[in-house]
């Protein structure tokens, strides 16, 4: 029941914030902050209580009937992976509210309603293991995000919001058809018509049917991720969204695609996934290199950061289709590290925009002198983005590449070129924004206390995950083993023994390997 509360609290908080926000914007802000904080506290309590490795498959499970006529249940479950994702969701959610404290003037009540409902949708996605419910939440997060871009976005917001909505909705509907197909196939085989994930695992299908259904799921996940040919919506949506919107899009919404791949696409369709793997890895590499190239070519700072997401998410696909534990650990790490580092970059872009009213790289320059604190933050997160050892992204990308290397030497070597590309575009950010000749004259101040707290906490997080990733790895392992075992046990292909990372090479060793 507590899992359901996690979602409901956010929804209720959103409604309260909307109602109170009409009279007093400040109450709306405080209420939403409190709502997320309560949720976070609840989650912390949960993780202390159930966080240790449990005997059963799930740490905590909740199940109730919803539309039992059609085998739809409210089935929520928490395991290490979803726990990590939830922490990310709520922390980023908290920051999203904090950073828009002064930015949002128009209708703050409705703004916070949207933020909280997006968060509840994402929380629902990370918790549901009933496919119908999963799809339900998948859609729930779209509408408020659409409003967020539409109402509080920048100049070209209408176009961006449509594009975002139609891309994600169309791909989501493909997944919906695939879910129905899976439901029917399973029902015909067993006579039990259900949307329950655990019952649907291991459904017998003809290979072509499996491929078709997996295609539906992939449509949704690859668009959301976004993978290389489907990334088109992302730069527009990210660029036009308000800072909180970009933050949530980059740090959380993209992760739902990655999560979907690990939790649903691969375990539900193991054989088809294996056939698809080379294509998947190829898409991943294409995304890494192409995204990096486009990022380098941008003059709009926000667009640049948006394209780096395409590049970073390429690692996720690469890792997912490498099918080994090390790569999967890398993927999980990447989800978290990218959430922190790119989120932080978007926050910095937002803060620059608030001060300079431009996102044009060519008009910036020499800002370190005026904003030393912000410059330092920019430096840290650019370094994170290029994969500097000691920061979370390094661990993520290293593990992914090492895992991918075992699956395909070619793709892994191509993908590692992405690290060089990342260095180039990250240094370009620093060069253009903080160093060089002074661009715009401005008299505004450096980071405020609120902003320093926001960025400071992200610095702590990225350094912590970089230096001591073990807690993340421990949490994620059971979920990853589940996925990997299903993948390897179902197929005919003999697998190499699954790497047992106990202990996963501590970071000091990792660094030695690289250096």
């Amino acid at each position: 029941m507590i899992l359901l509360y996690l979602i409901l609290i956010l929804m209720a908080g959103g409604i309260v914030a909307w109602i109170t926000g009409k009279r007093n914007p400040l109450t709306a802000r405080i209420i939403s902050l409190l709502t997320v904080a309560i949720d976070l506290a609840l989650l912390l309590a949960l993780s202390f209580r159930y966080g240790s490795v449990s005997e059963t498959e799930w740490l905590l499970e909740y199940s109730a009937l919803w539309v039992h006529r059609f085998g739809i249940g409210i089935h929520l479950a928490l395991d290490g992976l979803s726990l990590l994702m939830l922490f990310l969701t709520l922390i980023i959610g908290l920051l999203a509210i904090l950073i828009s404290w002064n930015e949002i003037k128009v209708d703050p009540g409705f703004f916070h309603f949207n933020i909280l409902w997006i968060l509840s949708g994402i929380t629902g996605v990370f918790l549901s293991i009933d496919l119908f419910l999963f799809y339900f939440f998948w859609e729930v997060m779209l509408i408020p995000m659409y409003f967020l871009i539409l109402i509080w976005g920048h100049e070209n917001r209408v176009y961006a919001s449509y594009k975002f909505f139609i891309f994600t909705q169309a791909s989501g509907l493909m997944m919906f058809l695939a879910i129905l197909g899976l439901y029917l196939v399973h029902g015909k085989n067993t006579g039990v018509y259900t949307f329950d994930y655990q019952q649907l695992l291991g459904t017998n299908m003809t290979p072509s049917m499996e491929m078709l259904l997996m295609g539906g799921f992939l449509a949704a996940f690859l668009v959301k991720l976004p993978a290389f040919p489907f990334h088109n919506w992302l730069p527009d949506a990210h660029t036009e969204a308000p800072t909180a919107g970009s933050l949530i899009l980059a740090s959380l919404m993209l992760k739902t695609g990655a999560y979907g791949l690990i939790r649903f696409a691969v375990p539900l369709f193991p054989d088809a996934s294996r056939i698809f793997a080379p294509v998947g890895m190829c898409l991943g590499v294409a995304g890494i290199l192409y995204g990096a190239k486009l990022a380098f070519a941008q003059t709009d700072l926000k667009r640049l950061v948006a394209y780096t997401s395409v590049s970073h998410m390429g690692f996720v696909i690469l890792g997912v289709y490498a099918f080994n534990e090390m790569a999967y650990q890398g993927v999980v790490m990447q989800m978290i590290a990218h959430g922190i580092s790119t989120g932080a970059l978007f926050i910095i872009v937002g803060q620059l925009y608030e001060r300079l009213h431009t996102r044009d790289l060519n008009r910036m320059g020499g800002l370190w002198a005026k904003f030393p604190a912000m410059g330092a933050m920019g430096l840290i997160f650019s370094m994170a983005s290029l994969g500097l050892p000691g920061l979370g992204n390094f661990v993520a990308e290293f593990l992914t590449l090492a895992g991918a290397f075992k699956a395909s030497i070619l793709f892994a070597s191509l993908a590692s070129l992405g690290l060089i590309a990342a260095t180039i575009y990250s240094l370009r950010i620093l060069q253009k924004v903080f160093y060089g000749r002074t661009g715009i004259e401005t008299t505004v101040k450096d980071l405020s206390v609120r902003e320093s707290v926001v960025l400071g906490s992200l610095v702590l997080a990225i350094v912590f995950t970089g230096l001591y990733p073990q807690p993340v790895i421990d949490r994620a392992r059971p979920a990853i083993e589940k996925t990997i075992n299903r993948e390897t046990s179902s197929g005919a292909k003999e697998t190499k023994p699954v790497l047992v990372p106990d202990p996963v090479p501590p970071l000091t060793e990792l660094r030695e390997v690289v250096e």
């Binding site: 059609f70 909505f165 058809l177 129905l180």
Partner: protein
């Protein structure tokens, strides 16, 4: 006629008596408010009387009428909708000058026609019901005779609907000539349904399909819809969109199932084509509409296209999903038109899309209701439209109609564009200077409708169970 027979006829009798009473009252003294309240009470009474009929189903009034659970369910939907339409009409007509009491007389007759239609199991009652409904609608559409647009729409409707009636009647004649019976279930006895239908019958079915198609406004018989929707007063448009189409669909569904037409390959192909064409035509034409009523007219063409899918399944699950979809569609449409009706002023309807500019800032509550209704029409989660679309697609793919399900999905995406466009206008653009006072009662109705949309969307079980137990066509 026994006592129970009378009891079963009670809903129809109530609806038939009301206009006579109003007529007599109006002859003595006109009082708009009293007539409104009386109409409302009579519709509520008719609705409640359904519970008296409930224990006595299934009862035939051989050969014309049939009171089974299925017809009761639709009567319930019709009377519920009538209640809402009456309330909307009150708010709408209050602003109009002239003599407004007769409106309710015609409204009752139209509802009577619809009631006969959903209880019909015979060509004669089918035709009687349809004509009673249509002829009252001609009057209702042209009711505000000071507006040119209304008159134009009324005449258009008269001409086109008469043509459709002619087709229908000729089709019935051919079928009668071929079979010698006018009872739905005797038309195709089970043992004879092995090979192809004789050409005479096929022609009859085809002509009837054209007639019913006109009433449902599916492609290629859809041309009248946007003009009539635009020209008619908003409550009448609401009536056409919900009760009129719903009743015809109920009858069509019963006819289709009773005659087991879904086993007939040729008909199935024709209806599939009509369905797909309706979806695409409706949605594509709606994309660039600047008039809200026209936009909803085109969207209704598309929705009726979706609603033909369960017809082809011929299964009980299909019928259930159709009824569920219709119920959700009706309540959603009530919400959308309710808002337009509430925003309308005495000289014109608030149907220009620009009338909504900045509505969200002026009146968040009303804007919220309209947003919810539009999202529900688009089939987004948390709304009735989502669940109903899900049931529909499920019933479709269960019967292997993947092509139709797929085209429904494609069309959902297309339709998003124009629904979102309306939402966008409410939320973003500058405020327009129109100030509209909306009465508290109207607000309450609209909020209740919105709550209904949400409840069906979040907890669909209750409605699904209700429909599940009631939608057996026997």
């Amino acid at each position: 006629m026994t006592r129970i027979d009378f009891l079963c006829l009670a809903p129809l009798l109530i609806v038939a008596t009301a206009p006579i009473v109003i007529m007599l009252t109006v002859a003595i003294k006109r009082n708009f408010r009293v007539v409104c309240i009386f109409s409302l009470l009579m519709f509520i009474l008719a609705f409640l009387s359904l519970f008296l009929v409930l224990p006595h189903t299934t009862r035939h009034f051989y050969p014309l009428l049939l009171f089974d659970n299925y017809s009761l369910l639709f009567l319930g939907i019709i009377y519920f909708t009538s209640i809402v339409v009456t309330m909307l009409s009150y708010g709408y007509l209050k602003q109009q000058g002239g003599e407004r009491e007769e409106y309710f007389i015609v409204l009752f007759v139209a509802v009577l026609g619809a009631s006969v239609l959903v209880t019909a199991e015979h060509f004669v009652s089918f035709f009687l019901g349809l004509e009673t409904l249509s002829i009252s609608l001609y009057i209702l559409v042209a009711y505000l005779r000071s507006r040119d647009q209304c008159i134009e729409a009324g005449v258009k409707f008269l001409v086109i609907a008469s043509l459709a009636t002619a087709f229908l009647l000729f089709g019935m004649g051919l079928v009668y000539a071929g079979t010698g019976t006018m009872n739905f279930r005797e038309i195709l006895p089970p043992e004879e349904n092995t090979g192809a239908i004789p050409p005479l019958m096929l022609a009859g079915f085809g002509l009837m399909l054209a007639g019913i198609g006109f009433k449902l406004a599916v492609v290629p018989f859809h041309m009248w819809t946007p003009d009539i929707y635009e020209g008619a007063p908003v409550p009448v448009t609401t009536f056409i969109a919900t009760i009129s189409k719903g009743a015809v669909l109920a009858l069509g569904l019963r006819f289709f199932i009773d005659t087991r037409s879904y086993e007939n390959g040729q008909l199935v192909i024709v209806i599939s084509i009509i369905s797909i064409l309706s979806m695409f035509t409706g949605n594509l034409l709606a994309l660039r509409q600047g008039n809200l009523k026209r936009l909803l007219a085109y969207s209704s063409i598309a929705h009726l296209g979706y609603l033909l899918i369960p017809l082809l399944t011929g299964t009980r699950a299909g019928v259930e999903s159709a009824v569920f979809y219709l119920a959700a569609y009706v309540i959603t449409t009530l919400g959308a038109f309710g808002v337009i009706s509430a925003l309308s002023v005495s000289d014109r309807d608030a149907d220009d899309i620009n009338d909504l500019k900045g509505l969200f800032h002026r009146d968040p509550l009303i804007a919220g209701v309209l947003t919810l209704a539009l999202l529900s029409l688009a089939g987004l989660p948390l709304t009735a439209g989502f669940m109903s679309k899900f049931f529909l697609v499920l019933a479709g793919v269960k019967s292997g109609l993947w092509l139709l399900a797929f085209s429904l999905i494609i069309n959902s995406v297309i339709s998003l564009y124009y629904y979102l466009r309306v939402v966008k206008i409410m939320f973003t653009d500058a405020e327009s200077d129109r100030e509209v006072q909306i009465s508290l009662i109207t607000r309450i109705i609209l909020v209740l409708i919105a709550a209904g949309i949400l409840i069906i969307g979040i907890l669909p079980s209750y409605l699904a169970e209700l429909i599940g137990t009631f939608s057996g066509i026997n």
